[in-house]
Amino acid sequence: MNERPFDEGGLCLIPSEEGIPRALLPLDLPENYLREARFLKSSGARLKGIWGATSETPSLYAAFLLKEGLVVLSLSLARSTLSFPSLSGLFPAAGRFERTVRDLFGFRPEGLSDLRLQTNHGLWARPPLSDPDNPLASDSPSSPPENYPFVRVSGEGVHEIPVGPVHAGIIEPGHFRFSVVGEKVLRLETRMGYTHKGIASLFHGRSLAEGARLASRISGDSAVACSLVFSQAVEQAAGIAPSEGSRFVRAILLERERIANHLGDLGALGNDAGLGAALSLFSRLRERLHRTSLTVFGHRLLFDTIVPGGVSASLSASAIGHLLGECDDLTREISQLERIYADHGGLQDRFQNTGILLPEVAHLYGVGGVAGRASGQAFDARVDHRGDPTHRFAPALSLDHTGDVAARVRIRFLEIFESLIFTRSLLLHLPEPPLSMALPDAPEPREGCALVEGFRGEVIGWVRLLQGEVLESVHIQDPSPLLWHALEAATPGNLVADFPLINKSFNPSYSGTDL
């Protein structure tokens, strides 16, 4: 089945019952992989992730997002070389993904100039996910972690500030290397991999239910988005579509996660800019959401609420009333806070013209989500794709062009209000009690992929199922790796003291990056 989703005239993606149109395109030859990638680039596609898998054949996967939908290329690698062509010349974000594939699987990116270790910190003798019988995979170089060669900036008065992996505060671990002159940042380089937990190996051989639990814990703040994308990919592989009721409940859960995280980010941004009261005012609303989630859905952070085939919670009439009341209260409270933020000279002074991500840079790295929309990238999977029954209430696209911290703050406010209206409509039009569907089994391995608009941006999922509903390989790609590129591009030229504010305004997940 080597169908091209493209013909000369344009695209033909398979429309899907739930979520956005998507296509999986298996390829055998490196030339074809490169040709398809070039074609995708010329069609305006954005690279969303590259990952490896070792099933019967070692394979490489690359996910691209077009306005029309999601395309996943899969390339089978020759055992005798284990090499694949690097896409770093076409998509600058490809390099780090390819370095991770090299670190973990021992596959070799041909044409990639930066071959520093990425996810492997030099503690393993051979790539941990490589085929133990293939001697080729073992020659990945390992170097002691302290010798990681950061790019040096030279010149009079230039010095480096190393920060991390342990940061001051309740933050995940990662390393930042600033090259500064005086107070000004000349260059920022991030180094990740500290929270690498071997998620790919943990998925292997698990049942679907266990897989959904693990997906909830890839990045705790995106538990709904990750378990939803996992479930949708499984459903595509199994060829089923969940009931309309479950899709509505899933959409409500996804919006709750978005609202809670946006509230947290807005409070933290106000706090970092010197308005301590903002943190209290926002975190109190967030706490209220978590408490409602616990009573209505059984978990404060909505872990394990989405399972392949449906959802694990249903909504009683009184729960719907409770959620509607909460929507009204939040709308009122957040409107007041939005006015306070807009009128506060001190806050706006810190937010405006700080950490500017230029639209062309956002486009270059394929940055979507809040950060992308604040820099003129008009993508939102909830808005763009009409397949889903919830689309008739879809939120309006929030868009800004200035690309500074202030724009990312504005986008978050806009999105919260849209999410509240969206949630309200979903609650008022809930079609039927959500029913979970059984998944049909099939003897041959099946693959599926999916995309979900999480609170940070587009989350990609891909699964390969074996007979008996056992997971062979799974990859869930959070947008965070692209946000690190965005952060590195937006920081130079700013004061070191503004970095926490800029970082918070992008808020990438370390755990979602390192996997």
Partner: protein
């Protein structure tokens, strides 16, 4: 500005009444207040969300005499989340060594207890007890804020097994 002041005034005090647990007696060495250094040893960040929630006005950790500090040298309690990834082991040990004695170690979340859902992976060390002695465990995935507060207060009372 007046909008903000009015909002703060109208919001009032939201902190919930403290439940006093007889198991949470306070030894004199801490004198009703303790500083916490949090260390994420590879968590999924779910536990971090609940740690941040401790500082909201409803739970209000500060009103119980507990606060998070930036430097391990200022800390009495090392609070660890996550399954302890291979890549965080060294940083964890350095942080712990930098803390003055007497100190307490609190493992928050199922991951820190025994690796939790990530147990058995090549990249994790299956929990904090594999690396250092733990005084108090707060199980849960993630534990609720009240449970974390309760665990922290218990750390005051619990005797260290060895000195």
């Amino acid at each position: 500005m007046w909008k903000l002041l009015w909002k703060i005034l109208k919001t009032g005090n939201l902190t919930e009444a403290q439940k006093t647990d007889p198991g949470c007696a306070t030894p004199s060495e801490y004198r009703h207040s303790a500083a916490i250094r949090h260390l994420d040893a590879g968590s999924c960040n779910g536990c971090e969300l609940e740690l941040s929630a401790l500082e909201n006005p409803v739970v209000s950790l500060g009103s119980r005499g507990l606060s998070f500090v930036a430097s391990p040298r200022h800390a009495d309690i090392l609070l660890v989340t996550g399954p302890v990834t291979c890549h965080m082991r060294e940083a964890l040990e350095i942080t712990s060594e930098a803390m003055p004695s007497p100190k307490r170690t609190v493992a928050v979340g199922d991951c820190a207890k025994d690796g939790g859902i990530f147990r058995g992976s090549y990249a994790v060390l299956d929990g904090l007890p594999q690396v250092m002695e733990v005084d108090v465990f707060v199980p849960g995935c993630p534990p609720k804020p009240e449970e974390i507060v309760e665990g922290l207060l218990r750390a005051f009372a619990e005797k260290k097994q060895t000195t």
